[in-house]
Symmetry: C2
Subunit: 118 residues, 2 copies
């Protein structure tokens, strides 16, 4: 068993996104065979990409508030809200609140995601 | 995109475990292609199974405190701690605190887990 404290892991900027960082908690490099777990942090006024990809996201809001855009509607999320983004579904998470938004986002590792697991 | 509030989903007892419930937040039944996300709640004094299985767990502690036993040692976990349990590694999460322990646990869906994703 490998252990980390999530907020003590390095937070990397996300290319092309202002006010968003990502922490890769578990990934292929750690030996995770099937899926990866990341912690994203979105500053007030910032948002993740509005995009789609051929694999799912499973999201769990840890703190802050998010507005989630998707093809099935717009949703307001808060701590304890969880989302399943389907493969190829356009989606985006926006922080319209006044505190940082933190959420977990699990994705398949590269082999299960066609080599593109961003 | 599908949305839920985690604590509003049904909590089911776990056969053979006293003081432990599981909420299946996302699973094959929801259309999740690769992995499932569960929320486990462990009462003070209770523990999950001491067991192993041929697929990984990725765990994130939401609240409470846990002692994790594994083949690589014993670890104290608190909110924000995260764990990667490797395939076939014996592991157990114990609540030795005085408040409920809640953690997320992601696992491959049945096809990726040889049909056994408990």
């Amino acid at each position: 068993m490998l252990i980390k404290k999530a907020l003590e892991t390095p937070a990397a900027p996300v290319d092309g996104l202002k006010g968003v960082t990502i922490r890769w908690l578990w990934a292929s490099a750690d030996g995770a065979p099937t899926f990866a777990l990341r912690l994203l942090e979105v500053e007030p006024g910032a948002a993740t990409f509005r995009h789609a990809h051929p694999y799912e996201h499973e999201v769990y809001i840890l703190s802050g508030r998010a507005v989630a855009h998707s093809e099935t509607g717009e949703f307001e999320l808060e701590a304890g809200s969880t989302a399943l983004v389907m493969p190829n579904e356009i989606h985006q998470f926006i922080n319209r609140g006044d505190e940082p938004l933190r959420f977990l986002c699990a994705i398949p590792v590269a082999p299960a995601a066609g080599g593109k697991n961003k």
